[in-house]
């Protein structure tokens, strides 16, 4: 089943072209590493997919429904880029923030029920923030804050999880654990994952597909195909391609 379908998508910011005629599909169970240099349009592509910004051209469908008509937001978990979207001194506890990930599953008036406690506890345990549930978000380290936001993204047990550079505030050990957790969600929980990262070498170890974006799609396919692609050898250079593929092996 196609979970995300993007067709001939273009996006301009003022007169600057950020995305140029990109098309791709994400199938159920995929784990996609979305990579590309700074300013390549990765975050913009995700924002268009989620309907946060309107494209100049093109169509986006989520679970078979045009994003403009899409209402099943409880099927999606999202971790925004960096921690700049919220005030770090916001007086919210870890538990309050993780709970807010369940609002997409609630009708008006949105209320957290006793039956939701197990979901909240599970998400906090999985991301190792259960012990700090009563702390304020501003009292946590960057890595802990990142984990809290991941817990918020997965608490509603989404079918599609979109993470925008989730490992920037994590140390190498925490990064490894984090990638393992995502793999578990993907393989055991059948969660489809799109993960934006700069770290093309690391993502090769975990993701099943690579989407390389630089305003347009440079490559989209499996890592095996990437490693065998002569076009990619020419694009990246033999050494870089070998480095990425070696890590994947």
């Amino acid at each position: 089943m196609t979970i995300v379908a993007v067709e001939h998508l273009s996006f301009r910011y003022n007169s600057v072209e950020v995305l140029s005629d990109i098309s791709f599909g994400v199938n159920e169970g995929d784990y996609i590493g979305l990579v590309g240099p700074n300013g390549s349009g990765k975050t913009t592509a995700i924002k268009v997919v989620l309907g946060l910004v309107k494209p100049a051209k093109g169509i986006v469908s989520l679970f078979g429904t045009n994003v403009n008509d899409f209402r099943e937001w409880h099927r999606i978990g999202y971790l925004p880029q960096k921690l700049t979207h919220f005030n770090p001194h916001f007086p919210a506890t870890v538990r309050e923030i993780v709970s807010s990930g369940l609002f997409s599953t609630k009708k008006f008036p949105k209320r957290i029920q006793r039956s939701d406690e197990a979901l909240i506890d599970d998400a906090m345990r999985l991301t190792d923030v259960a012990d700090i549930r009563h702390k304020l978000i501003g009292e946590l380290s960057g890595g802990q804050q990142q984990r809290v936001l991941v817990a918020r993204a997965i608490v509603n047990r989404p079918d599609l999880l979109i993470l925008d550079e989730p490992t920037t505030a994590l140390d190498p050990e925490a990064r490894g654990t984090f990638f393992q957790t995502l793999m578990g969600l993907n393989q055991n929980g059948n969660v489809t994952i799109i993960l934006i990262t700069h770290d093309i070498a690391s993502i090769g170890k975990y993701a099943s597909k690579l989407l390389y974006l630089d305003k347009q799609i440079i490559f989209y396919g499996s890592f095996e195909d990437f490693c065998l692609s002569e076009k990619m050898t020419n694009y990246f250079g033999e050494f870089s391609q070998h480095l990425i593929c070696h890590r994947h092996d």
Binding site: L50, G51, L52, R71, W73, H74, I76, Y78, P80, H85, F86, N87, H89, F90, P91, A92, T93, E96, I97, S100, G101, F103, S104, K106, F108, P109, K110, R111, I112, H134, L136, R152
Partner: protein, 273 residues
């Protein structure tokens, strides 16, 4: 004067009851405004109230009843200028507030004869609040509190991370509109307590006091509410005993609570952390 004899006066009861309801609404709404970095919208809308009071006096209507729709329109004006004309929030507030004051001055100047009345609204007088105004304040406060209660989680999500709130299916445009409209109503009510000049203090001070010591979002709302109500009661009592202007004394009581909370946070609590 002791507290017992202070509460023997009926006008004191009226002031305390109406003031507490209005302070409660201001304190809760203030938390949302401060966290959304919209604190100055209260100040801007208070300036619009100056214009709306002038219109009310011109048409010989009660200032509260005519001000509410005018100030709500002003609050939507700020929102639309921000969203549609892509102005920064502070610039939009500046435009609407100066328009309100300019309109008020022109009306007062052309109509003449009610300059003294309009200037009495600048500083408010809660002790002169009538029975009908008390009932109106209570009714409108309950409406505002109920709306905040029913949209509590939407406000929390939007204030914390608007982008994520949208992905959660929350209509953040609607939540923003509700917030500014409720602020419009609240500012008109607060005008009676502290006057147009000091209205924003009722929105800002209790919430920033709560932010010093609260340990969760819900806790911030509760602490802010307590600070707002305590300030009104202490302010009314102190102004009565010391023969000071009531509105300004309420603001000073609020400020003292803020200083106390700030000192507590930076001395006692930081010592045990």
């Amino acid at each position: 004067m002791d507290l017992f004899s202070f509460f023997q006066y009926e006008f004191v009861w009226r002031a305390v009851i109406a003031g507490s309801f209005i302070a409660l609404v201001c304190s809760i709404l203030g938390v949302l405004l401060v966290l959304r970095r919209l604190s100055l919208i209260g100040d801007g809308l208070a300036h619009v109230t100056f214009g709306s009071v002038a219109v009310s006096l011109l048409f010989k209507q009660h200032p509260v009843y005519l001000s509410i729709p005018i100030v709500m329109a002003g609050s939507l004006g700020i929102l639309k200028l921000t969203e549609k004309a892509r102005l920064y929030g502070d610039a939009a507030i500046g435009i609407v507030s100066s328009l309100g004051v300019a309109g008020g001055i022109i009306i007062a100047s052309v109509a003449g004869g009610f300059n003294i009345d309009i200037f009495s609204f600048l500083f408010g007088n809660i002790l002169a609040i009538s029975q009908a105004e008390v009932l109106t304040s209570i009714a409108l406060s309950i409406v505002v509190l109920l709306i905040i209660f029913f949209f509590y989680h939407e406000h929390f999500a939007t204030a914390f991370d608007e982008e994520f709130a949208k992905i959660s299916g929350i209509d953040t445009g609607k939540i923003n509109a509700i917030l500014v409209l409720l602020t419009g109503i609240t500012v008109v009510l607060a005008m009676k307590i502290v006057g147009i000049m000091l209205t924003s203090s009722l929105l800002i001070l209790p919430s920033v006091t709560a932010l010093q010591i609260a340990r969760s979002f819900k806790n911030t709302m509760i602490v802010s509410s307590i600070c707002g109500i305590v300030s009104v009661i202490v302010g009314i009592y102190a102004s009565f005993v010391m023969n000071l202007p009531t509105g300004a004394t309420i603001v000073m009581a609020n400020f003292l609570l803020f200083i106390t909370a700030y000192t507590y946070k930076n001395t006692v609590r930081s010592k045990y952390r």
